[in-house]
């Protein structure tokens, strides 16, 4: 049996392609028609073609597990990809992109403030402890002036769409966000597998990203050299994002370097070892966590980093992207202050809303969270990859009790949010399409200029009902199309900026 859209259930959450009564959303009609026109064999063939393309292109990510003897092991898995695209309308995306630029601008202003005058603390915007006691606050960065006042040059912001179709910011990944190469590869796979779909649409290309990233990184170089040497610093082939590091270096024509390829000379400049001798490096896009970049400054046991790198950076002889210390704003407690930051630093109203967030460190919020654990999602302030969460409604009593104890013991370490029912999109599962939950991670570049990806990486929870989209935990992905539709093509899906501003629903401030 071919795909039967009448049996598709789009009522469990906001669906990206299908309305609750089974009609197509603006722009989605062609995709639905083409899919419905394929026989089950053809559909299976397309799916297989996508798998073959992914395998042949070597699009992999690494998962860590245990081998038969319980030792550490890693497996290179082929990237899980769903052939049904996710659509975003161009005019909605333009609004979102403006909101993202605004957000990252405010975040960079905040980080720069943290390492300079700390007006945010003096003026009571964010309590001093939240900043100065953050695990990601780096004393070593105080007083440093990175080019353009930018600290987080590459930011990956996770967006979710709620039951009402509104896009909300779930978190900002300011340290070393990954995933952009998969966004680019998804498009390449889609073109191989479904070339005919591209005839019906004006789909905005995504492949200008490497060019934009290269320009962004070059704009950070010290000195006047028009063609500075840019290097991507990777932990090596055993890192889960190595594929991406190699991909970006290749498409930017940058050097892909590992720590031992570099050294800092007596002149506090960074050099790489080449067959002809040594070559000065101007900009390093580091894909290694702060604490590992320089064993002289941070973790002595790091073999991934380069001794003296912080010295060279402080002397202004090399640019580091993202700048060390920028993680101070990559914290789910700090996240809850971003709408206030936008008002404070930019004197603007936020264009994109946060998910309401309760800070357990504040007594009022904490009491509310502890009383409502069965309705909330509790997150550690500093983890990424979807680890360490409590999904209140799904959790057992014992799990909730354990979290309650952790929250009381270390309230600064936790925030809570209402359970957002993430939007869904049709996803191929065993020869039929079913609704699966998803999110969206666009990437924002900041250097001399600001740039936002066209769409971003859509991650899908492949298990029915699951809201965990992380690839390390069984998530997949979809190609994300930013499409133009005729202005007459019916009602626009609710734009991000259309609803309330700053916080969705009740503000985190009024808990009671």
């Amino acid at each position: 049996m071919s795909i039967d859209w009448t049996s598709y259930d789009a009522t469990r959450a906001w669906d990206e392609l299908v309305t609750p009564d089974g009609a197509s959303r603006p722009g989605a009609d062609s995709v639905m028609r083409v899919l419905a026109g394929l026989s089950p064999e053809e559909l299976a063939e397309r799916k297989a073609a996508a798998d073959v393309a992914i395998r042949a292109m070597g699009i992999t990510f690494t998962v860590y597990s245990e081998d038969e003897d319980g030792g550490p092991a890693q497996i290179d898995r082929e990237w899980p990809f769903d052939i049904v695209p996710r659509l975003v309308l161009k005019h909605e995306w333009d609004e979102v992109a403006r909101g993202l630029k605004q957000r990252v601008k405010a975040l960079n202003a905040f980080i720069d403030d943290v390492y300079h005058d700390q007006r945010a603390i003096r003026d009571g915007l964010v309590p001093a402890d939240h900043i100065l006691k953050s695990r990601e606050f780096r004393q070593e960065c105080i007083g440093i002036d990175p080019p353009h006042g930018v600290w987080s040059h590459v930011c990956g912001t996770d967006l979710v769409r709620d039951e009402n179709g509104r896009l909300l910011v779930l978190e900002d990944n300011l340290r070393v966000p990954s995933g952009v190469s998969y966004m680019l590869e998804n498009r390449a796979v889609m073109k191989r597998v479904f070339p005919e779909l591209f005839e019906d649409y004006i789909i905005h290309p995504v492949d200008d990203y490497p060019l934009a990233l290269a320009a962004c990184l070059r704009s950070l170089a010290p000195g006047q050299d028009t063609m500075p040497v840019v290097a991507v610093l990777t932990p090596g082939i055993y890192n889960s994002a190595y594929f991406e590091h190699a991909y970006l270096a290749q498409t930017m024509a940058a050097e892909l370097v590992e720590g031992p390829d570099l050294f800092v000379g007596d002149d506090d400049c960074v050099y790489m070892k080449t067959i002809a001798g040594v070559q000065r490096v101007d900009v390093i896009y580091r894909r290694i966590d702060d604490l590992f970049i320089d064993p002289e400054a941070f973790r002595e046991d790091s073999i991934l980093g380069v001794p003296g790198l912080m010295r060279a950076w402080r002397a202004g002889n090399v640019a580091l992207a993202n700048a060390p210390g920028c993680g101070v704003a990559d914290d789910k407690v700090i996240y809850s202050y971003v709408p206030d930051m936008i008002r404070y630093y930019l004197a603007e109203e936020p264009l994109l809303a946060n998910v309401p967030t309760y800070r357990c460190v504040e007594k009022q919020h904490r009491d509310f969270v502890l009383d409502n654990l069965d309705r909330l999602v509790v997150k550690p302030a500093n983890e990424s990859g979807g680890y360490g969460l409590l999904m209140g409604p799904m959790a057992t009593h014992a799990e909730r009790d354990a979290f309650a104890r952790s929250i009381r013991a270390n309230p600064r370490n936790y925030v809570a949010q209402p359970m957002i029912s993430l939007s869904t999109a049709p996803t191929l599962t065993d020869g039929r399409v079913e609704a699966r939950h998803l999110d969206l991670r666009p990437f924002i570049l900041s250097g001399a200029d600001t740039y936002v990806t066209t769409g971003g990486l859509t991650r899908v929870a492949m298990r029915k009902g699951s809201m965990v989209v992380n690839s390390s935990q069984g998530g997949g992905s979809k190609d994300t199309w930013v499409v133009e539709v005729e202005p007459s093509a019916g009602e626009a899906s609710s734009a991000a900026g259309a609803g309330g501003r700053g916080e969705a629903g009740s503000s985190a401030g009024d808990v009671t």
Binding site: R55, A56, M57, G58, P210, L211, A214, P222, G223, Q224, D225, T226, M227, V229, G236, I237, Y242, A246, Y247, A249, Q250, T251, M252, A253, A254, E255, L256, V257, E258, P260, D261, F263, G265, D266, D267, D268, C269, Y271, M272, K273, T274, I275, A276, G277, V278, Q279, R280, N317
Partner: protein, 346 residues
């Protein structure tokens, strides 16, 4: 008044931009090392696959009672002690398993392909992207088609498949890869491995494999034929030499022919020309020259018995010294910032 430079249309990709504006860039030492090993592994995959196939064919031509078997393959690949620690007998099954699919043998085809893949992964940003697809395909193919105990017929097809995938990969690179220093190191790895295989094959072939005092006169020169065939050089030999197969002309041909891609002389000449293209090449250049001179001064056709074996040993040592000087010059050097070379601090 003439403007110095008019605005030229920009290249379409950032890659093009960087190359165009930045000019020639020197490659990282680590990358050079990886590409060099990639070249060595890919050559090893091809030559091992060829050895197994050719030996299977050869053995079908020989009478069963001839005590010439699969053992020479183990000796050619220089893995005797390891093989003996794992197997009791150099049977077809054991030798093929050991050389093709045995993960315990670092020189097996499957391990060499893993070496290719690992090195290709590390340098994937420096090679045309599609070549990584070829490498992946080679890996998946070998893993699925060459399990231990594959029948002769299936084995032959699969080994041919490995060979043609290697040729596809090399052919694509040769036609499409920028022939820059990456290419030079890749070729250097190819040539060194190839020279190594040629000299090993001659070395093993020169040993009296036939039991002494045998009465198999028609097979007297069989070992030289098998050496030629193992190196895919029989047809070339007939075309270029035009004499019956015998020790003197075969040695002359395999060691000194300037037009045989696999001859020792040709490999040395190619290595020398690769080395000449690279910076700071004094020591590797000197070692290449020494090996070339030693070959030129040898009475190749007159080499026989212990003298031949000693000469092949000497060739192996020359290759070892060339490899060491390549590694010391370009891979493992201790850097010092040179203010004239690097840009000065701004």
């Amino acid at each position: 008044m003439k403007k110095a430079v008019s605005a030229a249309p920009g290249p379409a990709t950032p890659a093009g931009q960087a190359r165009a504006a930045g000019g020639k860039r020197d490659i990282l030492s680590r990358v050079a090392e990886r590409v060099y090993w990639l070249g060595r592994y890919i050559e090893r995959v091809e030559s091992t696959a060829r050895l197994v196939t050719v030996t299977s064919n050869l053995l079908m031509d020989l009478p069963v009672r001839l005590p010439l078997g699969w053992r020479p393959l183990i000796d050619i690949t220089g893995s005797g002690p390891l093989f003996d620690s794992l197997f009791d007998e150099a049977s077809e099954y054991n030798v093929c398993r050991f050389l093709i699919s045995d993960a315990r043998n670092p020189g097996s085809i499957i391990r060499s392909i893993e070496g290719v893949r690992e090195n290709a992964r590390t340098v994937r940003e420096t090679m045309p992207r599609v070549t990584f697809e070829y490498v992946n395909d080679l890996h998946h193919f070998a893993r699925s088609q060459l399990p231990p105990g594959t029948s002769r017929r299936r084995r032959r097809e699969a080994l041919d498949g490995v060979g043609s995938r290697v040729h596809q990969f090399e052919g694509f690179l040769s036609r499409n890869m920028l022939h820059d220093a990456h290419w030079t190191f890749l070729r250097l790895g190819n040539q060194l491995e190839r020279a190594d295989m040629t000299t090993r094959t001659i070395d093993v072939g020169s040993a009296d494999l036939l039991a002494p005092g045998h009465d198999l006169e028609p097979f007297h020169e069989a070992r030289w034929r098998s050496v030629l065939i193992s190196l895919y050089a029989m047809q070339s030999y007939h075309a270029a030499v035009g004499q019956p197969v015998s020790r003197g002309p075969v040695l002359e041909f395999l060691l000194r022919a300037g037009n045989l891609p696999r001859s020792y002389a040709r490999c040395l000449a190619q290595m020398r020309s690769s080395v000449r293209d690279l910076p700071r090449n004094r020591r590797p250049m000197r070692n290449c020259n020494t090996a070339i001179v030693a070959l030129a001064n040898a009475d190749v056709a007159g080499l026989e018995g212990p003298a031949l074996r000693a000469f092949m040993d000497e060739c192996q040592q020359h290759l070892g010294r060339i490899h060491d000087s390549i590694a010391q010059t370009w891979f493992d050097f201790q850097p010092k910032p040179d203010p004239k070379k690097g840009k000065l601090a701004s």
